[in-house]
Amino acid sequence: MKKYRIGLFIPCYIDLFYPQVGIATLELLEKLGQEVIYPPKQTCCGQPLANSGSEQEAIATYQHFVNNFQGFDYIVTPSGSCAYHVRRHYDILEQTDAVRKVRETTYELCEFLTDILDVDDLKIRFPHKVGIHQSCHGLRGLKLGAPSELMIPSFSKVRRLLEKAEGIELIELDRKDECCGFGGTFAIFEPDVSVKMGKDRISDHERNGAEFITATDTSCLMHMEGIIRRQKKTIQVKHIAEILNTNSL
């Protein structure tokens, strides 16, 4: 396997509230022989600002991101949404070589594993019933899989990484890629619709027998976990990095 010099981008809510997801991502990439560096001055990709309509206020944050992630072969993050934001919406910065390079080389973890490292069998054992929550920005933005609306051949980079796990049972959902209702600041400005969407998503996983809901994005999982805990449900959430890092490589 080729060895790359990787800048590890840990989104703000993972850093603050879900460090275990960051740790799993780091350990997994290290196990795969990659040189992983966490630029210590990083903060956030700026998406919370931009999605609220404050793209202009985010420019300093964007610039801060670009400055912190200079000089890596790839920038890898356990978040489809943040990777998509850097790639798609950093178009408002002046497109210097540095900006262009950062945008082109920022990858969501699963995408990096399948597209760049070309691995799919991570020798995982995860004997559980797992439902895949297709986080929207990863699915429809980064095209990590074929969304149900498009009449294109079916594929899923996330499923490809999980289905070889020993003992795993990937359950089928009634609505295979409906949004969970997190949507960044949408969760705050439209709390009732947001919570209802989350409840419905969780029910779909429960109804179809999932023990775990996994996703490429901790933000979706944080939202659903918040509802699960409030409603004292037993189903659990687990970021895909945590499952993939249970391997014995």
Binding site: I10, D15, G46, G53, H137, E149
Partner: protein, 458 residues
């Protein structure tokens, strides 16, 4: 809370009904999927539709003049309206010129947009909406909650009650066939007595001057062929260049809209009937000024199929009326702000930006990206609340510096750890309504990394 969020909360108060609304529209989405999947060239068709519309929008003045010339040759009177007021006046003039008393109208979102019924009502003229769903909501004095399924917010019992009151159907009767038959009888009388029939337009063919109207009920044809005067109302963007382009659009429209391979009737009106009069009214009403805006011009490709509403997880759970604009849902949320009306500035925020709308759109409009652009533009024009803008400025200040970020992050985790539950979940905390906050970990990733990988080179 924004107006949309408030109205959504009211809609969601009846959870069983919300679930019904959600599931019913989801079934329409699934029918759409099945029908689209049966067309091997589906994605190519969408691409073609998008390109044809691009060609139309880039040459719109040329096509409109070509269309008018062809329609004039067909013996049609063509009238032009800059805005809603001019449009309404044109319709009133036609009605008065023909001394018409009885007006029937099949579905036209354009006349809704222009407030035609309301305008005519104040001039003493009552228009009868003849689409069943539209007649139902007209009886109830409501606005359509969906552009293709205008009465989707209602239960059959409520419709039964309305029909009992307005049409004398049996009290408590709610069988859809029974109610539809009652409406058929009632509206057939209206058709037979009609002096003027108004319709919307799905497509207007530039090279032939023909207008095309698609319905399942046959109400456009009943009105148009029964009344001596037929009036077709179209936005400037309804043009397709050539007859053959209709092949692309008629394959996409009903499959996207209702999951049917085609509507029951696809009617092509070219010339007036013998002894009759035919008018086509071409309306701008603010459309042309968005042609030059690369961010928003694609919104003018819309076929008004409603597929984005059926797939939208927010629309299905908040109902069409929560949007407060004549066209609700994702497409409405990018069309409404074009009206530069302060009432609609919250609509681009009434979305989780999941992107499903853009994927079902038969004309490949990048709806979710335009929602994102509108958010930027509205906030730049200072049309979002001061508190929101101030908090965003502060957030930007924190996130653009490592030390400010670290300080804020530590405070947040400490607050979650030490503050009592009651204080964290004050009513002001929108997150806490229905959700717990994450349990604060002992240390952030940043701290963990420092402790565990400190020998790493930087």
């Amino acid at each position: 809370m924004t107006p949309h969020a408030k109205k959504a909360k009211q809609f969601l108060a009846d959870e069983a009904r919300t679930d019904w609304h959600n599931q019913t529209l989801w079934i329409v989405r699934k029918k759409r999927d099945a029908l689209a999947a049966a067309v091997p060239e589906w994605e190519t068709l969408r691409e073609k539709a998008s390109i044809i519309k691009e060609n139309v929008l880039a040459n719109l003045d040329v096509y409109l003049e070509q269309f008018e010339a062809a329609a004039l040759k067909n013996g049609v009177t063509v009238l032009w309206a800059n805005d809603a007021a001019a449009f309404n006046q044109i319709i009133l003039d036609i009605i008065q010129k023909h001394e018409a008393k009885n007006i029937v109208k099949s579905k036209s979102m354009l006349t809704e947009e222009c407030g035609l019924n309301h305008f005519l009502h104040h001039k003493g003229i009552d228009v009868v909406d003849t689409d069943l769903g539209e007649r139902i909501i007209q009886f109830r004095g409501e606005a359509p909650s969906h552009i293709v399924l205008p009465a989707i917010h209602l239960k059959k019992e409520e419709i039964g009650e309305t029909f009992h009151e307005k049409l004398g159907t049996d009290k408590g009767a709610s069988d859809p066939t029974y109610l539809t038959r009652a409406a058929r009888k009632h509206l057939r009388e209206k058709f037979l007595a009609a002096d003027v029939a108004l319709t919307g337009v799905n497509f207007a063919v530039a090279e032939t001057g023909t207008v095309v109207v698609c319905t399942n009920e046959g109400n456009a044809d009943m009105g148009v062929h029964a009344a001596p005067v037929q009036v077709h109302c179209m936005g400037i963007e309804k043009i397709v260049p050539r007859q053959e382009d209709l092949g692309v659009f008629t394959r996409l429209l009903a499959r996207s809209a209702t999951g049917q391979p085609v509507t029951t009737y696809t009617s092509h009106y070219g010339t007036p009937k013998p002894g009759g009069a035919m008018y086509i009214v071409i309306v701008d009403n603010g459309r042309s000024k968005h042609l030059g805006n690369p961010k928003y011009v694609n919104s003018l490709k819309c076929l008004r199929c409603g597929a984005c509403m059926n797939t939208c997880p927010v629309f299905r759970r908040s109902g069409g009326h929560s949007y407060g604009y004549v066209i609700p849902g994702p497409i409405g949320s990018i069309l409404a702000p074009q009206r530069t009306d302060a009432r609609y500035t919250d609509l681009p925020f009434a979305s989780s930006l999941c992107g499903s709308c853009s994927n079902v759109c038969p004309a490949k409009i990048n709806i979710h990206e335009q929602l994102y652009y509108w958010r930027q533009d509205l906030s730049e024009k200072k049309q979002t609340s001061f508190i929101k803008r101030f908090s965003m400025k502060m957030t930007g200040f924190v996130l653009s510096s490592n030390s400010r970020y670290n300080f804020a992050g530590n405070m947040a985790r400490k607050a979650l750890k030490y503050l009592p539950h009651k204080l964290i979940y004050l009513p002001i905390n929108a997150w806490g309504r229905g959700r717990e906050l994450p349990a604060p970990p002992k240390q952030s990733f940043k701290q963990w990394y420092k402790n565990n990988r400190k020998n790493k080179p930087q």
